[in-house]
């Protein structure tokens, strides 16, 4: 694909205008469309499969819509008195509250690391960052055992608290604070007699907001998509987030294929909030922060 893509777009020597007209850009466009189709296949499949009744699922052509969408939704809502919607609400709670707290903690931490010079600054930053390298299972098992000792295992807290500290969020917030807040403004606020906290609240925080929205989004997706932590921490079905809930449904489906249609419909619904969030807040997906490139 690369070969073709570039061969077509080789500029013809001559005046820049004619060479530009000759370059159609079909090859890179088709290359990208191939990628887009590959990425959309499972999404299209789940959209179609969710419309099929369980009889149609295994018999009709897979990309031909069925007639069962409404009854699938009805069955899914009726499954154990609407447990699926409890899972969705749980996910919204874990991801919403967790990401909000995470953005707050990342914000103050990143600000302090970017804007103050103090003993142990780099040691603290590197230690916090090393957390990202810890395999989640390695952390989650002793976390679970300690939560159990504290009587917190199988509670909402057991999923929420470990989700707050995000090494990644701190890294992003530090880079953002360093690039977006001029030192002179902080100095001016201090000269005006504002306390350090007030300077942060009223000068730094508003300037960091776009960066913190990014942290919130990343963390929201990370918590919504997290499987391992709730899988280990929770035993009670009614506290499951939707990822763990769907997994348990799938496991039962191995014995009762009728549940497969519920799994498929549930999968579709579970990704809708994320896709909506993703499309509506596109300008906040600041991945340039990752490579440390902030234009201030």
């Amino acid at each position: 694909m690369t070969q073709d893509a570039t061969r077509v777009s080789v500029p013809v020597s001559g005046s820049p205008l004619t060479s530009r007209l000759r370059r159609i850009g079909w090859a890179p466009t088709l290359g990208l469309l191939a990628g887009a189709v590959y990425c959309l296949i499972p999404v299209v499949w789940v959209l179609v499969a969710a419309t099929k009744s369980s009889a149609q699922l295994f018999t009709s052509f897979t990309l031909f819509p069925g007639t069962g969408l409404l009854s699938n939704l009805h069955d899914l809502s009726a499954y154990r008195n609407g447990e699926f919607w409890t899972w969705m609400l749980n996910s919204a709670f874990y991801a919403g509250v967790g990401a909000l707290l995470s953005a707050g903690v990342s914000g103050v931490t990143g600000y302090a690391l970017a804007k103050y010079r103090f003993a142990g600054r780099n040691a603290i930053f590197n230690t916090l960052l090393a957390g990202v390298l810890m395999p989640p299972v390695v952390l989650a098992i002793p976390q679970y055992l300690l939560m159990a000792k504290a009587g917190l295992a199988d509670t909402y807290w057991s999923v929420l608290i470990p989700s707050i500290l995000s090494p990644y969020g701190i890294y992003l917030a530090r880079i953002y604070a360093a690039g977006a807040i001029p030192d002179e403004l902080l100095e001016a606020s201090r000269i005006d007699g504002a306390s350090e906290w007030r300077t942060f609240r009223s000068v730094a925080l508003p300037m960091m907001m776009p960066g913190l929205v990014t942290v919130f989004l990343f963390q929201f997706v990370a918590i919504w998509n997290n499987f391992l932590l709730p899988f280990i921490m929770l035993g009670d079905d009614s506290k499951f987030p939707v990822t763990v809930g769907l997994f348990t449904l799938l496991k039962q489906g191995a014995a009762a294929p009728a549940l497969y249609t519920l799994v498929i419909t549930g999968s579709l619904i579970s990704v809708l909030p994320l896709i909506a969030l993703f499309l509506s807040l596109q300008r906040y997906w600041r991945l340039d922060l990752l490579s440390g490139a902030v234009k201030s």
Binding site: C39, P42, T62, V105, L128
Partner: protein, 308 residues
């Protein structure tokens, strides 16, 4: 915290950063340092059984020395799992980053149509949970529900068996490629966009083709972000857990110890042996840290974007 302290100002200024850092430090101590320390402690403990191990008091926890480590390291399943993850990673990482780089270069090419649509479509899988992605692909791998097998069947061919034998590696790597390409593409694309246009103009004046510009200018200039994405992909590969766990109910080809982390989970929660699970997880954490720091050392420390 910092608000409570009145003037003198110099003093508050020096204490303020610690106040700001307090929540993160407390959370880190409770949720990272303490659990890791506890896992380290457990890895040297075991249950001593007296007599038949029945009745109260016959089972007590005591020191185990290095016996948990000896049995963890000599367990062939850990080595086999590591080997499986290495094969999986060797397929996944080059394909994913190769595609991410290719798509980023295509997005950056001149005269591309439907640029925004393609960028969003390729990035979209990032928003889909690994569990749901595995589930969707799992159904696409099942001959009874997959459109691919249906079409191949119409052509009188049978598709490859992706849910058994060596096909499993392809099946799992494909899920991760699907989920990760877009994210890495956007990271690389963003750094491509930050290259000043004059660089290309100079090269074009010298008669360089678009291919030459891509190979000789663009790729070397985005090397730092390629290194970064490689590093994150490597860590994610070593930690693979959700995808094989989710595919497992659809096939007999994934054992409960397919990846090292799955083995740790099984040992801790299915077998209830938290001591040997802790020893194994300490070994995995140590290997991850050695690889990570070795890699970072090799690449050289990065600046964090602020003026010293």
């Amino acid at each position: 915290m910092a608000t409570a302290a009145p003037p003198p100002r110099r003093r508050t200024f020096r204490l303020a950063p610690y106040g700001f850092l307090a929540p993160a430090i407390v959370l880190f101590s409770l949720m990272f340092a303490l659990p890791i320390g506890y896992a380290g402690y457990l890895s040297f403990r075991k249950i001593h059984i007296q007599g038949l191990g029945l009745g109260p008091g016959s089972r007590s926890e005591g020191w185990a020395g290095l016996s948990n480590y000896a049995s963890a390291l000599s367990d062939p399943e850990l080595l086999n799992g590591t080997a499986r993850v290495l094969v999986y990673g060797a397929m996944l990482v080059p394909v994913m980053l190769g595609l991410a780089l290719l798509f980023a270069l295509l997005l950056d090419a001149d005269k591309v149509r439907l640029r925004a649509f393609s960028r969003i479509a390729i990035f979209l899988p990032y928003a889909i949970p690994g569990v749901v992605a595995s589930l969707l692909w799992g159904f696409l791998y099942l001959p009874t529900t997959s459109p691919g097998y249906f079409l191949l069947g119409k052509l009188g061919m049978s598709g490859p068996q992706l849910l058994s034998g060596h096909g499993m590696y392809v099946a799992l790597a494909n899920i991760a490629v699907w989920g990760g390409t877009g994210f890495n593409m956007v990271v690389i694309y963003t750094s491509l966009r930050s290259i000043p246009a004059e660089v290309y103009e100079a090269a074009r004046l010298d008669g360089a083709s678009e291919l030459q510009i891509a190979l000789r200018i663009k790729i070397p200039m985005v090397l730092p972000s390629l290194v970064l994405t490689f590093f994150f992909s490597l860590i994610a590969t070593l930690q693979v857990f959700s995808e094989p766990t989710t595919l497992a109910p659809l096939t007999n080809g994934i054992s409960s110890t397919w990846s090292p982390l799955m083995k740790v989970y099984r040992d801790a929660f299915v077998r209830g042996d938290i001591y040997s699970a802790s020893a194994t997880s300490v070994v995995i954490a140590a290997v991850t840290l050695v690889i990570s720091f070795g890699f970072l050392k090799l690449v050289g420390s990065r600046a964090y974007g602020e003026q010293q």
